[in-house]
């Protein structure tokens, strides 16, 4: 298609322009850190990773430990205590911020801070796994389509269109119901959901990678490889893949944020991670209870802030990377 050719020409110009003396990596890093938002984003993500993956080791509580309280004495009772079935003992729900619970407890009497850390693990992992799956499928198929063209390209691109045309949310609801129907343990449900999301999202990646490879194929250095007659595998891995890398990295960072949001939307619809495990998404759905929203910001605000910061950070990094790699690159 000619629009691609037009782009090819532009890309070619751009390619020539960027032949500076700095090594490409140095150049990218220099441009990246020139963008302050991107740098801040990177730091935020590092902090979040430390908080979620190392934090739980310092928490005295477990992910879904519930706390009881004696109504009269106001004394908190741990769930392993025999007194929890005594009269006058109730669950310590919606407890205010205290030294025992730095962010209070939620509507089921569980420590918010601890769940925040465990929930972050899930949310970040979900993002990572989905991105890996979508990249694996998308890059492979997109690469094949772009490199071989013709009938292969035709078939793969029709497949991409089919996946594009399937509405996401109704499908996730259905998939979730199907999984329950086949008796898949809720513990593993989230992994399957992640896998399905990855399978659904590959189409966008494939399209992007294919476009990139199509334009690369026309470039002189590829024609040179053709002329020297090196092996196909070498052509792909030594010459094409490194050139597609930037776009892959950018897609990955941007999608990481998007998928964390997607996870919270699915939690809202009741098809996210299963009870009693936490994720930022299912914690933040507490915002829909008007009494919690009004009186207990300690329950909904922390997960909200975590999601906001993380997704924002991923977006900043993605933007920064894109500007750094190639200010012209489109998303």
């Amino acid at each position: 298609m000619e629009d691609i050719q037009v782009r090819n020409e532009q890309d070619q110009d751009e390619f020539e322009l960027s032949q500076v003396i700095l090594s490409p990596t140095q150049l990218v890093l220099k441009r990246f850190f020139r963008n302050k938002l991107a740098a801040v984003g990177l730091i935020t993500i590092l902090v979040m990773i430390i908080f979620c993956f190392i934090g739980p080791f310092f928490s005295p509580y477990s992910e879904y430990e519930i706390f009881y309280i004696n109504k009269e004495t106001g004394e908190e009772i741990y769930m392993t205590d025999a007194r929890i079935s005594e009269k006058g003992v109730k669950i310590n729900i919606k407890a205010p911020i205290s030294t025992a619970h730095l962010l209070g407890t939620d509507a089921d009497g569980r420590d918010v801070l601890t769940r925040l850390m465990y929930g972050g693990r899930v949310s970040l992992t979900v993002g990572l796994v989905v991105v890996l799956v979508e990249l694996l499928i998308g890059v492979t198929l997109g690469g094949i389509a772009g490199y071989y063209g013709k009938a292969v390209d035709m078939i793969i691109m029709r497949l991409v269109e089919i996946f594009y045309s399937i509405p996401f949310i109704p499908l996730m609801l259905i998939i979730s119901a199907v999984m329950v129907g086949y008796g898949i343990s809720p513990k593993y449900k989230i992994y399957i959901i992640m896998f399905v999301m990855g399978v659904l999202f590959w189409a966008g990646v494939a399209r992007m990678v294919r476009g990139q490879i199509l334009s690369l194929r026309e470039m002189e250095f590829m024609q040179a490889t053709e002329a020297t007659g090196i092996r196909t595998s070498r052509k792909i891995f030594k010459h094409l893949v490194p050139n597609v890398m930037p776009i892959i990295i950018i897609i990955a960072t941007m999608d990481l944020g998007g998928i964390i949001l997607m996870e919270s939307t699915m939690s809202y619809l009741g098809v996210g991670i299963a009870f009693p495990y936490a994720s930022w998404g299912n914690m933040v759905t507490a915002v829909n209870n008007s009494i919690i929203l009004k009186n207990f910001p300690n329950i909904w605000l922390p997960p909200g802030v975590c999601i906001l910061l993380t997704v924002l950070a991923f977006n900043f990094i993605g933007d920064g990377l894109r500007d750094a790699y190639d200010p012209k690159m489109k998303r």
Partner: protein
């Protein structure tokens, strides 16, 4: 005819959800269809309908001329014959009147008609038949001016009995003379079915059935629904546990099923029911063969019209709810719905699902923008409605209280909680609380957990009091027996059987043969104790029993066992419970008004999903149904409930209250019913309600 006395209700309907669930309808229908002694209906206003001049439009009595009721998602099927959504029912309810309705105590009383029963011997004198005489009041008119006659009632019977009827009424299953013949469209239905039954009884009862037939049944019925494919259960382990050797065929579905059939036949033949299967099979083959050729039977023999306002319905056997079945129905106009109705084709009736017409205090105006609009009907036979317009507006459950306080709506029914009461009182509005005629429970299936010690162990892990108190505060109480305290036979002094006690639970597990292995897992025969529990809170776990399960997860993890929580939507949950795939499940019963627990815990009960097979319980149930003396019956019920508790299949959790809130600044609170009960609320006498 089997009769379910308890209805299932979707627990989440009391919490928050976007789903419009099928089961809540029963609960709602009865609340909104409810009625009282009809005293205030028979007032002077009846004169209106007798041809006197009536006002064209109803004029508001105060500043407000519109009542706005907050409700939830409509399906838009506003027809008493086809609706399956509680909120649809709520909205069309004022458009119709019923022949009889329930008063505030739940007793059937006259409303727009009358029903009476007379027992009589059958023609051959072999058994007792019951003749119901149903009549409608003379002089009533539908809102389009046409008179109400008994033909309208009979028309509805025929719609319900139609072979293609797919609504929620179960009228076609009643034992009315000639109904089966009409339904199956063959004059000699009884003889043919009898022949099938005789054939089945001679060949397929448990003691007579041949091994081949039995195995064919197991195979065709997929082990009575248990087998749902090779991955649906750990069949290999199961077979090994039963002493079979499935080595080499682990992945061959057909061979595995064959081995299972053999295993089940040899070891558990008594637990299956091939007879019913062959009976159903024979009948369904017979019916399908019958309906292909034109209409053979075009009337129901047992339904006879006496005069313009009276008809009789003849039941072939005693049905204690027979009067409700024939008279607790909304009257629908035949001239409107029945224009193009013929047997086997209900499309013309269904085409009017969106625009109901009846003889109730209000008439239907429109359904748009998520709002159903009704307008006062001056032709209503009772007290003329005071509010010119009533609107039902879809309001999200979590917005209901705020919307009412903000004067956007006037009446609504949020899920009851102490927080809501505080908010309503602070705003100076009014509310009512009535006992929900049902209860929440956690079931432990004896089918999947045959070892009673394991079940008892699980029961000892349920810490109910803090959970219920934290969720409902004073709006629910923990109950100790599987029956709602609104039933008068409930043993109020009953004590707790399985107190929360993890040590005792572990003791029971040990008795059952479980022990910790090297890795700290609680195992028996190398298999970890793993329990799957289903709960229907649509994934959000906003549920009173959530903390009970959380505590169980923690305690069981500490012992080396595992509790797997399947948080699923309600329709999936019922499907899985019916298929017997869950070890435990959390649900609630609604609308249970009887002490008859045959369906729930009887060996042949329809809802005996926990698999309680006890001769002792069966005998007691039979005795209870024949015991007229109240105290004596109470004692028997208490005894039965104790036996059920001993079997450790049902852990009753709570009985809660239903809430309705009223906007004090728009409604004239004095015109609300003096006493709001489970069966009687503002909607029961909506014609009496006034705005300020």
């Amino acid at each position: 005819m089997k009769k379910r006395t308890l209805l299932l209700i979707f627990l989440l309907c009391l919490a928050f959800s976007f789903t419009a669930c099928g089961s809540k309808k029963d609960d709602e229908t009865n609340q909104n269809d409810t009625a009282d002694d009809g005293a205030d209906v028979d007032g002077d206003d009846t004169a209106d309908a007798d041809g006197e001049k009536v006002p064209d439009k109803i004029v508001a009595t105060g500043t407000y001329d519109t009542l706005v009721v907050g409700t939830q998602t409509f399906n838009g099927v506003f027809s008493p014959m086809f609706s399956s959504n509680a909120y649809d029912v709520q909205a069309y309810d004022p458009v119709f009147v019923a022949i009889s309705r329930l008063d505030k105590d739940g007793v059937l009383v006259d409303y727009a008609g009358h029903v009476e029963a007379k027992e009589q011997p059958s023609e051959d004198g072999s058994h007792t038949q019951v003749l119901y005489t149903v009549s409608v009041k003379e002089g009533m008119k539908f809102s389009d001016g046409e008179p109400v006659t008994i033909d309208d009632v009979i028309f509805q019977y025929y719609v319900f009995a139609d072979p293609t009827y797919d609504g929620s009424s179960t009228f076609s299953t009643l034992d009315i003379v000639g109904l089966k013949e009409y339904y199956y469209d063959t004059p000699d239905y009884t003889a043919q079915i009898a022949a099938i039954t005789a054939d089945v009884e001679s060949k397929y009862t448990l003691d007579k059935i041949s091994a081949d037939d039995y195995k064919a049944y197991l195979k065709d019925s997929s082990l009575d629904g248990w087998w749902q494919g090779i991955d649906s259960y750990d069949w290999v382990e199961y077979l090994k546990g039963e002493g079979y050797d499935p080595t080499g065929i682990e992945t061959d579905a057909d061979k595995l099923l064959e081995m299972l059939v053999d295993c089940e036949y040899t070891k558990y033949a008594a637990y299956y029911d091939p007879q019913s299967y062959y009976q159903a099979k024979g009948e369904s083959e017979f019916i399908t063969g019958n309906l292909e050729d034109g209409v053979d039977v075009d009337t129901i023999e047992g339904i006879k019209k006496l005069d313009e306002y009276t008809c009789t319905v003849l039941f072939d056997s005693v049905n204690i709810y027979g009067d409700r079945e024939v008279a607790y129905l909304s009257i629908v106009p035949e001239h409107y719905y029945g224009k193009d109705f013929k047997k086997g084709d209900l499309s013309a009736v269904k085409a009017l699902n969106g625009s109901p017409l009846g003889s109730g205090p209000y008439k239907f105006v429109s359904y748009q923008d998520n709002i159903v609009t009704l307008e006062g009907n001056p032709l209503f036979f009772g007290e003329t409605p005071k509010i010119p317009t009533v609107k039902f507006q879809v309001t999200a459950q979590e917005d209901m209280v705020d919307a009412l306080i903000g004067d956007q709506i006037d009446i609504t029914d949020p899920s009851a909680s102490q927080d809501v009461i505080d908010q309503i009182e602070e705003a100076g509005d009014s509310y009512s609380l009535v006992d929900n005629p049902g209860y929440g429970y956690i079931a432990v299936s004896a089918k999947t957990i045959p070892d009673i010690n394991v079940r008892k162990g699980l029961m000892h892990l349920m810490n109910r009091h803090p959970a219920v108190e934290s969720y409902y505060g004073d709006l629910a109480e923990v109950i100790e027996r599987p029956m709602t305290p609104t039933v008068s036979e409930y043993p109020h002094g009953a004590t707790e059987v399985y107190a929360y006690d993890p040590a005792k639970a572990l003791e029971y597990f040990t008795t059952a043969g479980y022990a910790k292995d090297g890795s700290g897992k609680l195992v028996k025969d190398g298999e970890q104790l793993q329990i799957t529990v289903g709960i229907g809170s649509s994934g959000t776990m906003n549920h009173p029993s959530a903390p009970i399960l959380t505590q169980m997860v923690n305690d069981m993890a500490g012992m080396g066992a595992e509790l797997i929580i399947q948080d699923i939507d309600f329709s999936t949950l019922t499907t899985k419970v019916d298929a017997g795939e869950l070890d435990m499940w959390v649900m609630a019963w609604g609308n249970s008004t009887s002490c008859d627990l045959t369906q729930l815990f009887g060996s042949k009960g329809n809802d005996n999903t926990v698999g309680l097979y006890s001769d002792e319980v069966d005998a007691l149930q039979k005795q209870i149904l024949q015991t007229v003396d109240f105290d004596e019956r109470c004692a028997l019920v208490a005894q039965e409930l104790d036996l059920i508790m001993d079997a450790a299949v049902y852990m009753p959790v709570y009985q809660r209250k239903n809430m309705e809130i009223y906007n004090a600044s728009t409604i004239n609170l004095e015109t609300l019913p003096e006493e709001t009960t489970t069966y009687w609320n503002y909607a029961s006498q909506i014609y009496h309600l006034e705005m300020q």
